[in-house]
């Protein structure tokens, strides 16, 4: 992951632990931003605009780790979470995992374990970022379509033949073909299958 643009957020109330984990992550080539409490993290405005993960202590005074996880979900911040805890019990970890945590590590944690979990979380984050970038691109492409082209595309992905589309739209089959060609070009779809998948992913509809 070295060299990639990414960020590890760390929230732990214990200064020694925070300092040590920060050092370890930095020594492993991560960019680290550490916070002493959940509140402090929320107020920093970190939102995962770049691939990032959150290394989060479960037990903290005030808002604890699980509270923060819940809060992030409520704010729709997509940030993979790795929990660390000094006294993890099974119900607590199940709850965390169900809520989407990447991993649940017990303190003290070995570097290999920790870094593997961080890598996994960052990979997930990058995957999500890549996916979102693709969707954004597809949506951007779809936005370039004219209303006529949208009508054509909606019918193409619905599996109708050119002839049927021409009938539907009260135009000639030849005209439909021209629109269809433009759609394929604008959506940068190499095949009908690609166009159909792109439409599915962006939830394409006739009306924008």
């Amino acid at each position: 992951m070295n060299g990639d643009q990414h960020q590890v957020f760390l929230v732990d109330d214990d200064e020694s632990v925070r300092q040590a984990l920060t050092r370890l992550l930095r020594a492993s080539g991560h960019r680290v931003q550490a916070f002493a409490s959940a509140r402090e993290f929320l107020e920093s405005g970190a939102d995962g605009s770049i691939p990032a993960c959150l290394l989060l202590d479960v037990s903290m005074p005030g808002l604890d780790g699980l509270d923060l996880q819940r809060e992030l979900q409520a704010r729709d911040v997509a940030l993979p979470v790795v929990f660390i805890t000094g006294h993890g019990d099974i119900p607590m970890s199940v709850k965390a995992m169900k809520a989407g945590a990447v991993n649940f590590l017990a303190k003290p944690v070995r570097d290999s374990e920790l870094l593997a979990a961080i890598d996994e979380a960052l990979a997930r984050s990058m995957r999500e970022h890549a996916e979102r970038r693709e969707l954004d691109e597809l949506r951007r492409r779809a936005d370039t379509l004219t209303p006529r082209e949208r009508e054509v595309m909606a019918r193409v992905v619905a599996g109708r033949l050119n002839k049927q589309i021409a009938d539907d739209l009260g135009t000639s089959e030849k005209t439909v073909k021209v629109h269809r060609g433009r759609v394929m070009a604008k959506m940068k779809a190499g095949s009908l299958a690609q166009l159909v998948r792109a439409a599915e992913r962006i939830g394409f509809t006739e009306k924008p």
Binding site: D14, S16, V17, Q19, A20, L21, R23, L24, R26, A27, S28, S59, M60, P61, D64, I84, G86, H87, K107, P108, V109, R110, D111, L114
Partner: protein
Amino acid sequence: MSPLTIAWSMCAAASAMMGLSHVLLWFKERRRSVYLLSSVMAFSAAASALLELALMRADDTARYGTLLQWENLTIYLLIISMVWFVYLHFGTARRWLAVAITVLWTIAIGINFTSPMSLVYSEITELRMMKTFWGETFTLAIGEPNPWKALADAASLLILVYALDGSFRAWRGGTREEAAAVGGGIVVFILLAGAHTPLVDAGVVATPYMISFGFLAIVFGMTYVLVSRAFSASRYARQVQADEKRWRLLLENVQLLVVGLDRGGLVNYVNPHALRLLGYERGDILGRPWIDIAVPQAERPAAWDTFRNLLQGGNLPSFENTVLGKTGEALHVRWSQVLLYDVDGASGGTLSIGEDLTPRIRAEHEARRERDALAHVTRVSAMGELVASLAHELNQPLTAMLSNAQAAQRFLATDPPELGEVRDILHDLVKDNQRASDVIRRLRALLTKEPPAFAAVDLCRLARDVSQLLRGDSMIRKIDVAVECPSEPALAHGDTIQLQQVLLNLLLNAFDAVAHLPADRRRITVGISRRRDAWEISVRDQGIGLAPDGLTEVFEPFFSTKRGGMGMGLSIARSIVESHDGRLWAENNSDRGATFCLTLPVFGALDPREAAA
């Protein structure tokens, strides 16, 4: 035999008998010269009776005069003895009167023996034969009275004054019976000697001299007094004997140590209880120096000083000391001392009464030891509740250390190695190690079985230490613990470990009281404040409080509302606080929740002497 002979002989015999008995009494008790005086009186009376009888039978004037001289001598002896008897016996008569009477009579008796016809007559003109009404004859002198007789008459007047005055004062002084007997005897005597005799002398009354009967009355009075004195003395002696027997019975059976010492500090009495406790036979210890036997060597000089001081009338309130038994075992005894006096009023030694406090002191030691042991056990068992907290508290530094070490490995592996980072890491490793050690140290302190060591305890530090110890627990249970300290240092007198235990207990209870409540009520405040000469620590929660009965019940042993709780925590906590001369109690807050308060003596205020030093 003629009636006169019989009467006067009997009078003489009776007087002699009484004189004899008084002589015997005097031999028994030489110190009492009154016996000697009374026997002189009695024998004088006997002699007087015999002389009177001889006078009745006298047949020439020269012989009559000589007999009268001797008769006067007996009167003289009797009167002088009587005067001094009254003086010595009652102690109320006037000495100058006694001296005056003695001087007058001594002069009179001198004149008596220088005048041929005695003090009574300067010349006897004839001896007349008289007849009693039953026809018996006796001799009576007729003659010129001796003018010097006025001397004896004046003395008789003085005797009357002296006797009445002395008797009256004795009467008022309480010895009424004796005063009446002696006074009555003297009155009879005065009537006979002072009235009847001058009449006979003057020839007005024709009877023999009857002075000896007056004497008999006086001697009888004296005898009565002495006999009743002796009687009451012997009754008193019996009473004393009975008393002594009773006291001795008491001493022999009382469950106290009783030891009598003579002036030299030698044991002259020791009761069976003391012998039993000390393991001695009576013979082992009687006549031996108590202090050298039973007082520990180091305390002996002081004990001897105290003893001598006591003998000289020094005051000694009850005191406690150590007493050694035969086999050297030590008893702790509280003594009270009594100084005994001899018959002559000199101090005759001491009697000491002691209570053996050893069993009580031993029981107190035992109770203290048991309380400490129980405190230890409850401390150890409370560790169970601390495990989660301690695991958390140890985990934090361990986590930091591991991560720091592994970071250091990575920093060293770079080229060039980032030594600055490694240096920082090593510094933090030491710091975190110290932190972990502190947790262990606190834990070990709580588990220690050392006897309590009282010293200055910083209550704020104590409260912070304990809340630190519980930090993991409070964090997991999301309970906010605030310690509020005063601006001045809060130093109390106590044992840190035991006080930590108390606070730990109060805080864990408070945790339980609020753990299930909403976040805004999961708040516990530990307050430390000064209350006059004590520090007060309060642990205040926002829970549901205690039932009215609960305010006292919670401190009873085996009272528990927790599942699996031993119910000893608060009971032990209270006994710990009380062993610190403090108090521990619970009260409900006016709004909600309960507060447990404890007071502890301010360090230094405990002993005023220490404070002054």
